[in-house]
């Protein structure tokens, strides 16, 4: 279990049941009471990379902006509105390409414990609209299930509501939900990349093998899962590595259990890439042939990489289930 040397707790939620539960797991951490999480999270001149190595925890109350509107999905869900939400800011994993390092002023983990307020906001929204809600947008929610139980709560919430819920993860924690009835409006999406890419770029994430095991558990429960092959990262022997990877994935996961496959190359909004480069100019993400196109920082040959992977995937999955990143989807990815 991850340790936090310091836990900053907003006074307003110090007696919240989840705060008490979380604090009980870290008896050795120093507790510092604060008025607002921004006193810690929004301090000037924080070093994201240094903080990531000594990541601390902030327990807070979300007061506004419970939901963010994204772009319309390309998928054929009819007239559905895409939203994303975050009970947690930042992540316990350390992906080198992670856009959060260019987005947030701090690497400390923020957990907003007032789930009830999120649910209240969404209840109001779904009275008017049919929505598709991605709940693991600025973190990997399932990776922190042992600490928060949020994924479970979201699933239980969705089971009696008219909305589509997407849970994106790299974790191998599906067994934590094993006893739970997963309703058909909850979509699990696993992000998968070749093991050599995981080794280079995705520090502390579960191996491909572990993720596949977790997926197998999910499909054994009858779930049809989404696979996200993103961000496609370039590396030497690209074609060999990715074709081998695709083969491994689909020799393990039957096509009928795959809802769809998303493929997208490494992309970052230009400004975020600049901020990340300032933090770590020696990051491997900058060391291959990259360009800035339409305010987006990406590989010069991004489309070629995507198309190659897509063609490989189509050997195992019908093409109507394979989605390659395109501009229409851009804002949903960022």
């Amino acid at each position: 279990m991850k340790k936090f040397s310091h836990i900053y707790v907003e006074e307003d939620v110090k007696n919240h049941p989840l705060t008490i539960k979380i604090l009980s797991k870290f008896p050795k951490s120093k507790i510092v009471y604060i008025n607002r999480y921004s006193e810690v999270f929004n301090r000037p001149n924080q070093n994201y990379l240094v903080q990531k190595k000594g990541q601390n925890l902030i327990i807070a109350k979300k007061r506004h902006d419970f939901l963010y509107k994204g772009s319309e999905l390309c998928e054929d869900f009819g007239n559905i509105h895409f939203f994303h939400t975050s009970n947690i800011y930042n992540c316990v994993y350390e992906c080198e390409y992670c856009y959060l390092q260019g987005l947030y002023p701090s690497a400390h983990l923020v957990i907003f414990v007032n789930m009830e307020d999120y649910f209240r906001e969404i209840d109001k929204l779904i009275e008017r609209k049919k929505i598709y809600l991605s709940i693991s947008y600025e973190t990997d929610l399932l990776a922190l299930e042992y600490l928060t139980g949020f994924t479970r709560e979201w699933i239980e919430y969705a089971s009696s509501r008219d909305l589509l819920l997407e849970i994106k993860t790299k974790s191998a924690n599906f067994p934590a939900l094993e006893d739970l009835e997963i309703p058909p409006n909850v979509i699990f999406a696993w992000t998968l990349l070749p093991q050599p890419v995981i080794d280079r770029y995705e520090k502390f994430t579960p191996s491909l093998e572990m993720r596949l095991k977790s997926i197998k558990k999910a499909i054994s429960r009858g779930l049809r899962i989404r696979i996200s092959i993103e961000p496609v990262m370039y590396l030497e022997n690209f074609e060999e590595v990715y074709s081998q990877f695709v083969k491994e994935v689909f020799s393990c996961i039957p096509e009928k259990s795959v809802r769809d496959v998303n493929i997208g190359a490494f992309r970052l909004p230009k400004e975020q890439a600049k901020r990340i480069e300032k933090l770590n100019e020696a990051s491997l993400i900058f060391c291959y042939d990259t360009v800035v196109k339409d305010e987006v920082f990406t590989y010069r040959n991004a489309s070629d990489y995507e198309n190659f992977v897509a063609e490989e995937v189509k050997k195992y999955v019908p093409s109507e289930k394979v989605y390659v990143f395109n501009k229409k989807e851009k804002s949903s990815l960022f």
């Binding site: 120093k30 604060i34 491997l284």
Partner: protein, 271 residues
């Protein structure tokens, strides 16, 4: 480099002896003492003085790679049992503005921690204090230091004296109190230095090679930047040094056209 700030000379004196710091006689504004690794400024009492001294010191002496700032001083406490203990501060409240500043404590250390409240005047009554400790500099120091340093490079260490308002505390008493804790503080400083050491990608020799080549090819400022990044990406990607660039030192460049050609030639070996 560690930048130390104390309000009083008595608080500074033990450090000056321990680290064998020499007075900067050129500085007419503040008493500043330094060696190759530490620079200490006596700021004077009060948050404004502290902020001025921090800004002046860092403006005048510059910030070095991997440096950090430490405010050390005597503090008062509402609890008698805190007397004689040294605390690393994890939260500073400005009693006047009610602003809160939270230092980024990312290191594993051996001190106890406390919050601190900075007042504009000596505190006589404990009931006026929101935090456990009080001083007259903390918030000013933190605010000024955070203009220059990352949050994890700013530290406040407070030693609790036996009286809330410091009345009747002699210079000798302060010196003795500080001397007793110097070893612990020194350990802490060493640990901070080690914890945040940043590694350089290029060796000194490689830096020289890149600079010499840029000079020989008469590169423009933006070309120098492109060459530097190309070298960096090459080294990280290939895990190989850039010493081979010495082979291009003999290239003759007499006009812009030749410069462009030579520049492209060098870059093609780094891609």
């Amino acid at each position: 480099m560690i930048f130390l700030f104390t309000a009083l000379y008595a608080e500074a004196y033990p450090f000056i002896n321990y680290f064998k710091l020499k007075r900067d006689l050129q500085n007419n504004y503040f008493q500043v003492f330094s060696n190759d690794e530490a620079l200490l400024t006596v700021t004077g009492v009060g948050k404004i003085n502290s902020a001025i001294a921090v800004a002046y010191t860092l403006g005048r002496y510059g910030i070095y790679r991997d440096s950090f700032a430490l405010n050390f001083g005597i503090a008062g406490s509402k609890f008698p049992q805190m007397k004689g203990h040294l605390y690393l501060i994890n939260k500073v409240i400005d009693s006047e503005t009610k602003k809160v500043f939270v230092p980024d404590v990312l290191v594993d250390h051996s001190f106890e921690e406390s919050d601190l409240e900075t007042f504009n005047h000596p505190v006589k009554d404990a009931y006026r204090m929101e935090a456990n400790l009080c001083d007259m500099e903390g918030s000013g120091f933190y605010q000024a230091a955070s203009k220059f340093f990352d949050a994890h490079q700013i530290y406040l260490l407070k030693l609790v004296s036996d009286s809330l308002d410091f009345e009747g505390i002699s210079r000798d008493f302060v010196i003795q109190l500080v001397e007793e804790k110097l070893k612990e503080i020194d350990e802490f400083i060493k640990m901070i230095k080690e914890s945040f050491k940043t590694e350089e990608v290029f060796s000194e020799e490689e830096k020289n090679i890149i600079k010499t080549l840029s000079d020989k090819l008469k590169l423009t400022a933006s070309q120098r930047q492109i060459l530097y990044k190309a070298c960096l990406h090459y080294k990280v990607r290939e895990n190989k040094g850039v010493d081979f660039l010495k082979g291009f030192f003999g290239m003759e460049v007499t006009n812009k056209k030749e410069r462009e050609k030579a520049f492209e030639e060098v870059l093609s070996h780094l891609r």
